[in-house]
Symmetry: C2
């Protein structure tokens, strides 16, 4: 590519000529403020002289960048470290002991690797929860994509630990605010009702409200969580969260497998975003699928997420769209549940709305988060139905070009610096395992 | 690539240097008879001078070519034509009316497209059932991969129609025998118990036995099939098939969602191969997953298949391995069911055995059906566990090189003639829809 490197990762005006938008031939003009200034037929004629960069779309399908609304990005370093185990054994014997040896540098490399994989597979924004988040912030900043970052707040019902978790949550929020980078937002990250006290949950809700930031939480992933909650609190998890002020239009609740109808109604009423994580739920055998149809009917904002790489084991949102559509049909025993257009909306417009990054549509005035998907590849031949192919036939490998916030991050499958990231992450993972084995 | 085209699609001796076999560094030497002559460390030193072609594996993971044990290859032309519908509506309103307009040329282009997609995603052998199979034979012959091809025998309980189906089955078997191409085998293809009379089933069983060919059938995909069978015959489907002589060690039964324990035991006792088709079963909402664990315990040969593109909608066996492992865990509510090594065995050694194409292993004397999977890609970083990454993290897009029967079909992602196949298939699909709409 040579001096083509100059075109990456910077703001410039971009004309994307000869693509398909919403099934119709179109061109897209992105201004140097990172905004879609024009979309439609004939745009290339009008804006050709004005563009710093012209990309020949070659009839590619243009989509808004996908939004991954629940992950633990740095866990990409644990990809394949342990699988096929009972949840509790998997966590206590494998995942937690390895995580005990994680350093800030590991979190940096794991998050870089995750961002790289997301750029390659067309995701331009994600919702993260982990620890040593200052290093995740650095990785996201350098990667060029968008993220909502939360520190995983776990007080284990202990007042002293709670104090420390509040401080860590505040520190991350203030660090991110001071950066003033519109691609990076903080969230409060109360982990779950079984790891955070009601006092901790309430503190998170109040802090998020005061700081005008989002809340990211795990909700009703397993049946045990429900049964324990009823035994301990005399109510189901969503009601407990509502008592603590957690359910808001800025809240993203991940998993939500075991919600009953009243909980779906409550989440809808509060305008909560729910993140469906079908691959993780299947792999860890949650025994129930998110009631997507009921949540949609109740008015909740239904989104998609991959969960972390330890329980998926990749970050490909195209794969996740398909898995979601298949799992919903299978579990609810109805092939009409979650048709392709609804799965695509979960991964695009609904996800962008949940994360507060624009509309997740390719419309004038939207942020320039754009991915181009090849039509010269078997997964898009024939092209009877673009949306069907995107959801059921293609994987993220069909993505050729990724633009985020008006910056080109991948062009014709080239990502500058990819080898260094792969090498750095592989080395970090090797050393992590080696430290854990010699401990 | 220029004169590199000379290396494709012909028998030659090949040294594949610097790969990983079963987790260990190794080289592979393929003799010009299409057989693995040497595998292990140091092979490159020993065979370098003898090889017509040297491939630098660059530490890639070498795997036996994957075997797709149930598909309808030509249905790739229907990819995305109709989704998200109730099975009966989907078939009667969309699929069958379009299939009514299929020509031999369509079957050729659909099968070429399917073979191309399989080569690209690491599949070197498949088990097909469709019609106008002389055109499928031609497509497979030209594509360079292996297939067991069956005419879909459907007599609809009508003696006259049965006569025609017997003739079509005989014609295909004799055509394939006369070609004397070891990559292509015939099978008898009685469609299912609800489309073929007991007389037709019995004829297929006898013909297969007499001709020493395989049997390919759909079995117990839906609950309705079971209920109707019991109502009509007073027994479950496997018992009915056994009465007709269909259950043999050369039989591949697809789907098998609704088998009970006695049927699993019977299939195991008869040495039947069962093809699990998880994506199709989820998409069409069969409401039960194949009892893989029971079938393994009973001694059945458990394999994997994608089903046709109308109900999947791709032919990526890597995706199918993951979907199988996830569905098994989820449906049987146990994350230890179908661990990664078992899923990989279903797609490789078990599949090769089912199709009668060698052992599906990279061992001396095995047929040279080899795929190389890149380790310089995010899905294989880190590489804590090769098998886990292959099953849970990678899609078929990680495959770089595909060799079948000692012939290079894809090298570093290049497949000669790919554009012509994509163009031909796209045009055939467009014209098919246009014929059906003007009818």
């Amino acid at each position: 590519m040579g001096d083509m490197d100059n075109i990456f990762n910077k703001r410039q005006s971009i004309l994307i000529a000869n693509v398909m938008v919403d099934g119709k031939p179109a061109d897209i003009f992105v201004n140097d403020g990172g905004t879609l200034a024009a979309v439609g037929e004939g745009v290339r004629g009008q804006y050709k002289g004005e563009a710093d960069l012209v990309i020949d779309g070659d009839e590619a399908i243009a989509l808004p960048g996908l939004a991954n609304t629940h992950t633990h990005a740095a866990m990409s370093l644990l990809r394949g470290y342990a699988d096929d185990m009972i949840l509790q054994d998997w966590l206590s014997q494998k995942i937690w002991p390895l995580e005990a040896h994680l350093t800030g540098s590991d979190v940096y490399w794991g998050t870089r690797l995750a961002c790289l994989e997301m750029i390659r597979t067309g995701t331009t924004a994600f919702n993260d929860m982990y620890f040593m988040m200052d290093e995740a912030v650095r990785a996201v900043d350098e990667s060029g994509i968008r993220a909502v970052l939360s520190y995983g707040f776990i007080d284990l019902f202990n007042a002293e630990k709670r104090e420390a978790e509040c401080k860590a949550t505040e520190k991350l929020a203030f660090q991110i605010r001071s950066m003033n980078n519109p691609r990076i937002k903080a969230a409060a990250g109360p982990h779950a009702i079984y790891t955070v006290s009601p006092e901790g949950l309430t503190w998170c809700a109040e802090f998020a409200k005061e700081q005008k930031i989002a809340i990211h939480i795990h909700l009703s992933e397993t049946e045990k969580e429900i049964n324990d909650c009823i035994a301990q609190h005399g109510k189901r998890p969503a009601a407990l969260l509502d008592d603590c002020g957690i359910l808001t239009p800025n809240t993203i609740a991940a998993h939500c497998c075991w919600l009953d109808d009243a909980e779906c109604a409550l989440l809808g009423k509060r305008g909560v975003s729910v993140s469906h994580n079908p691959a993780s739920n299947m792999k860890l055998a949650t025994n129930r699928a998110m009631p997507v149809r009921q949540l949609m009917a109740a008015g909740a904002n239904t989104c998609l997420g991959t969960d972390g790489c330890a329980s998926n084991n990749n970050l490909d949102m195209f794969e996740e769209m398909k898995t979601a559509a298949l799992l919903q049909k299978f579990f609810w025993n109805d092939p009409t549940v979650l048709p392709a257009p609804a799965a695509l909306a979960m991964a695009t417009s609904n996800g962008a709305k949940a994360l507060g990054f624009g509309t997740g549509t390719l419309t004038v005035g939207a942020p320039a988060d754009i991915v181009l998907i090849s039509v010269s590849t078997a997964c898009n031949i024939p092209l009877h139905n673009v949306t069907s192919n995107l959801v059921y036939s293609c994987s993220g490998s069909a993505v050729e070009t990724t633009i985020c916030d008006g910056r080109v991050l991948m062009l014709n499958r080239e990502i500058p610096g990819e080898d260094e990231i792969l090498t750095g992450a592989a080395q970090a993972a090797r050393e992590l395992v080696s430290r854990s084995q010699s401990a």
